[in-house]
Symmetry: C2
Subunit: 346 residues, 2 copies
Amino acid sequence: MSKERPTIADVASRAGVSKGAVSFALNGRPGLAQATVDRILAAADELGWRPSNRARSLSVSKAFALGLVITRDPAVLSSDPFFPAFIAGVESVLASRGQALVLQVVTPGEDEAAGYRRLAQDGRVDGVFLSDLRHDDPRIGLLTELGLPAVTLNRPEGSSPFPAVCLDDRPGTIAVVEHLLELGHRRIAHVAGPPAFVHATAREQAFVAALAEAGLEPVAIEVSDFTAAGGTEATKRLLALAAPPTAIVYANDRMAIAGIGAAHEAGLAVPGQLSVAGYDDSELAEFVHPSLTTVRADPFGFGEAAARTLNLLIDEGGEVADVELPPARLVVRRSTATPADPLEES
Amino acid sequence: MSKERPTIADVASRAGVSKGAVSFALNGRPGLAQATVDRILAAADELGWRPSNRARSLSVSKAFALGLVITRDPAVLSSDPFFPAFIAGVESVLASRGQALVLQVVTPGEDEAAGYRRLAQDGRVDGVFLSDLRHDDPRIGLLTELGLPAVTLNRPEGSSPFPAVCLDDRPGTIAVVEHLLELGHRRIAHVAGPPAFVHATAREQAFVAALAEAGLEPVAIEVSDFTAAGGTEATKRLLALAAPPTAIVYANDRMAIAGIGAAHEAGLAVPGQLSVAGYDDSELAEFVHPSLTTVRADPFGFGEAAARTLNLLIDEGGEVADVELPPARLVVRRSTATPADPLEES
DNA sequence: GTAACTGCCTAAACCGGTTTAATCACTCAT
DNA sequence: ATGAGTGATTAAACCGGTTTAGGCAGTTAC
């Protein structure tokens, strides 16, 4: 049993042809007689030969890998339900193409640009996913400068040279508000994510717009940070208002679940005295008490679409069309109900 | 502005030396006059040259990357607090060494061996982390056969050619049981993880042993699956017992939080009528109601230690000593209290 | 004065593929 | 018979580093 990996030269000599011929056969390029191709492929098969990624990378100047840089505090990242599913979706596309996913987790304090620079300069990846898109995101300029293909998850408001894969945050949020309005709520508050993030402001604006549609104004909008701790604090502030809300719409499940906890802590019944809604439909949403009304997106599908789009950009180059994913859907559970004191105001 | 990346030849000609000299200078190898080294490094600096990873990979037959294969259902993985922090710890070691992390998420249904095979045969990584270690884990044999260095997270019971980085699950679990015993609980149950996993059985055995230490037997041990859904089901079964437990120790936080939900659903007060303890200290543990008594490990440190150990194995080869991490600590919160009907027996 | 050694540096092979230009053996048209 | 054209194949350059063997100049040893 030879422990050494066979090389293309071994295959060539076994098939009685040149290295070049083997390469042609492998890549299905025209110019070889069918019989020769068959003979080469058979030889490769018998030797168990698979072309070396390293050699291929060097000669064709491609990495056969995509990169994902996640800029988050690991503690915060911990319970984010988006990325694992997103990554799984990405992988489902990469696996069949023999590509790999290079992951980088950057703590916000550090220089996130350095993360992308390393990926680009080391030639580790052929393209990257731009997640957690921010307003005037500096990474767009950075990647343009680095010449690294990218796909943005959702659309930046400024002009961007990169294709965007979008999952509109608004319909889900609007559905939540409409659901609460139908139940009879009129005093509704929102706990938003950091305004730097596109998806945070999108949800906030959708919230405001949906209320305005019904001629209402938010009781309050608390700007928070998507963490459980932040959700707790924001909830306390809302409950301390002179005229507190009868329902709170949170920008994600973590804050919402923490909000339920804070409400209970304050002696309020959920949904009896306070209705709560989240966003994400994380695993726990169904199993906390009361189970959480929330909005379910499809992060796996998001990952698939993003990977496909990025590969299209890398392979074909030029202009790649944006992709619009089906919007998130409302999932009604037990944390929302008719308000205790309905319709104070006409 | 030349858009082309400089190569080692550019640096060489600028410094007036040969390619080989540049390589020597870069890698700090002896045999070059200090003045020459300085000149070369200055030239490299001026050109902004960084050696190409691809070329280096090919010539030294190393990938400069480590691999992590996670075999989980993405839905389940979603809310696992371990991996994000673990990965961040790994990266903190890799970043300074210019290494990358290649991630692969394999759905349990698929062939997980294929994932490792791909990583090994494509030469993507120089070594891998073996997480979620199972009893008689087939991956140990597989990796031995593939000749891929690895580090196991925790120690397999059989003989293993790989160094183990261990975080003993037992002290934390024992501390939980002792805490409950001190509160006066005598009827304690456990919701365990799948027995295939080493850490699941370790926690279960520690639970049984700690009770035995006090001359007690478990009310019941429900085998579950670490998911919130599983935690709910297991809890329902325990509460339906003729003599239900006054406290339940869960093998992780997700099941515990779902357990609190199930208890509330059943009309039980936590911790008034049922004490609940988890394991992991996930982000939400502190913010659910009541806040969850649990056990806090240090997954970030786990990642650091694992990465360092794996690199040691790759660089030095031979025998690398196992690493024992400081054990997890008990975090007492509000979900545990004196039982309602204390000390029925003895 | 020459052999042996040392310190510094270079030429060239090498890693394992891809790709281009050239070669060879045929057939076909003139 | 000759030239052109076509299809199958190969030799060799190339990607950008690392590494080995060896060359050259300047001591030192005898």
